[in-house]
């Protein structure tokens, strides 16, 4: 019987940041043999060389179609099967699908040994999603601030208002129209970009 930490785990992900987060999570949990690869045209050869017991791959990754065919025809590697084979574990399947994780596991590995690995991948995918959402929100906030700054600049130059008065004008219009300040700022910018 292979010991837990001796499983060869392969993470395939086009997103190197997410792959790194998943890899670190697994290594920190005591799995020493974790490899990761991005998209590659010699996927088949690389997987054969790594001989993984478990493959973790983004559910949406187009390489899954390639992988599944390879598992079907290859004689060179043990044939992994989709993680979802354990149909009794409906809650984990739902969690995996909603997190966007899919896994292929060499037939015969015990489900209770696989479960913590897949759960780790699910939680790391969720963490990554959370980080990405926060980053996108921060980026959006920054963009909003930039729009407001530009609109203020336009009003100061074109209307001779002070900075405070420009901002107050944007805010007043936003409240009146029940819109966000940055939306009003966008309208101001658009209006002054028109050519007369």
């Amino acid at each position: 019987m292979v010991k837990l930490e001796e499983y060869n785990i392969l993470v395939i992900d086009e997103n190197p940041d997410r792959a790194a987060i998943v890899e670190r999570g697994l290594v920190e949990s005591g799995y020493a043999r974790v490899a990761r690869i991005g998209t590659s045209h010699n996927l088949v050869e690389r997987i054969q060389a790594l001989a993984p017991d478990i493959i973790i791959i983004d559910l949406e990754n187009p390489d899954r179609d390639t992988l599944e065919q390879m598992f079907q025809v290859s004689r060179a590697i043990a044939r992994p099967i989709a993680m979802f084979v354990d149909q009794s574990d409906a809650s984990m399947i739902q969690e995996a699908v909603s997190a966007g994780v899919s896994a292929y596991v060499v037939d015969g590995l015990r489900q209770d040994r696989i479960r913590p690995i897949v759960e780790m991948a699910i939680s790391r995918f969720n963490v990554f999603d959370q980080l990405r959402r926060e980053r996108d929100e921060a980026q959006a906030k920054l963009n909003e601030r930039k729009l407001i700054e530009r609109a203020k600049g336009i009003l100061m130059k074109e209307k001779g208002l002070s900075e405070e008065d420009s901002y107050a004008l944007l805010r007043k219009n936003a409240m009146k129209q029940n819109r966000k300040i940055y939306e009003i700022a966008q309208s101001v910018i658009t209006a002054f970009q028109l050519e007369f």
Partner: protein, 393 residues
């Protein structure tokens, strides 16, 4: 309150039917709020349908059969097929370099019927073998795809053994074109616009069209979970009606420009308008820099019973699964096809519409004297085979 239906699709010309059903209001008329979700792989669509993320999906005809059998290391899934989504627009494209070699090796075959162009490939393979060169690589989109079966049919008809004389791998449709351009594969069989795109960019030549191999080979189908049929029969009927109406609209020559425009949007197929227009208008360009060729039946969405889920077409998929060793030769696939393909659902859904339905669910395929030919369209196999589904198990 409209019923919400989430439908997953892959960016290909034959996602036209669901796209039109939403855009032109056919789904709304059936009180269905149709949400379309673009997916980049067949495995992802299959899993999301199976585990309830989608109610419906644009699927390869072989996937529901493979899912019922639990093939490919994936657990058994009960997906059924209430209708087909047109006849597709597959083609076999080879790299311009391979095309030149085929032309030199056997000019007669390359100027004869396109279905037999594989004979020139056979000569190239023989040359390579004599010179001790490695075998060439071809790609299709999924193990249980009509593309895989069509490519193999075309090769085998020319005396090529697809399992020995070439490598056949799988690449998801949106990645095909780059794989050819980068020289990772020498040729492929895929749906449009991924053939036309290679020709427009000068990287590939179309050597055979689906019509040259077997015009009636089953292509995409509507896949839904069996439990959803049982729990929401009215919605299933409404969805089928909306999609059949959409297919009728998409088939009108006068609507093809608008359809090309719709499909060119990034949220749908996301390919250039002129490439989609050439293909949808029935005037594809087969070789880079040449004039378009008139192929009016290049994309058929509605006529020729293109939305009817023929059991005989499902049965043919089964014979190809056996032929290429995907299932044991003694499997009783016709009884699986009967569970998966559900013409009864189609008939019930369109009963009150002015839609011509066939008398029978099965027919002998490829018989040139068939009296229903004007109804079902041309159906000759490139090797003039006659396929009688009752003579297989």
């Amino acid at each position: 309150m409209a019923e919400k239906v989430r439908l997953g699709f892959v960016p290909l010309v034959d996602c036209a039917i669901p796209v039109v059903a939403r855009a032109m209001g056919f789904a709304e008329q059936e009180n269905i709020d149709l949400e379309l979700v673009r997916e980049m792989s067949w495995a992802a669509i299959r899993d999301k349908l199976s585990y309830g993320v989608f109610e419906a999906a644009h699927l390869l005809a072989g996937i529901p059969i493979a899912a019922r059998l639990g093939l490919g290391g994936v657990p058994v899934q009960h997906i059924v097929v209430p209708m087909a989504l047109g006849r597709g627009g597959n083609a076999i494209t080879v790299s311009t370099r391979l095309y030149q070699r085929m032309l030199e090796a056997d000019p007669a075959a390359m100027h004869g019927p396109r279905g037999l162009s594989g004979r020139a490939l056979k000569k190239v393979i023989d040359e390579d073998r004599a010179a001790g060169r490695p075998v060439m690589s071809f790609a299709t989109v999924f193990p249980f795809s009509s593309h895989n079966y069509e490519l193999r049919y075309w090769m085998a008809a020319a005396g090529i053994d697809p399992d020995r004389d070439v490598n056949i791998g799988v690449i998801a449709p949106p990645r095909m074109f780059d794989s050819l351009r980068n020289g990772w594969v020498d040729g492929y069989c895929v749906g449009e616009p991924w053939n036309q795109r290679a020709v427009f960019h000068g990287d590939g030549v179309i050597v055979a069209l689906k019509d040259d191999i077997w015009p009636r080979s089953p292509e995409k189908v509507l896949g839904i979970r069996e439990d959803w049929v049982n729990s929401s029969p009215e919605t299933v009927s409404g969805l089928v009606r909306a999609l059949v109406r959409a297919a009728e609209w998409a088939d009108q020559p006068g609507n093809r420009s608008e359809l090309a425009q719709m499909l060119s949007e990034e949220s749908n197929v996301g390919a250039p308008y002129e490439i989609l227009k050439a293909s949808l208008g029935g005037r594809p360009v087969l070789r880079p820099g040449e004039a378009p060729t008139d192929i009016p039946d290049r994309h058929v969405f509605y006529r020729y019973t293109a939305t009817f889920p023929w059991l005989s077409q499902g049965s043919w998929v089964g014979t190809q699964m056996k032929r290429w060793g995907q299932v044991p030769a003694d499997s009783d696939l016709n009884s699986v096809v009967r569970q998966v393909y559900r013409p009864d659902l189609y008939r019930a859904a369109v009963a009150d519409l002015d839609v011509a339905v066939p008398k029978h669910d099965w027919r002998v395929e490829g018989a040139n004297d068939a009296d229903d030919r004007s109804f079902v369209g041309p159906d000759s196999f490139l090797d003039n085979t006659v396929f009688d589904p009752e003579k297989v198990s």
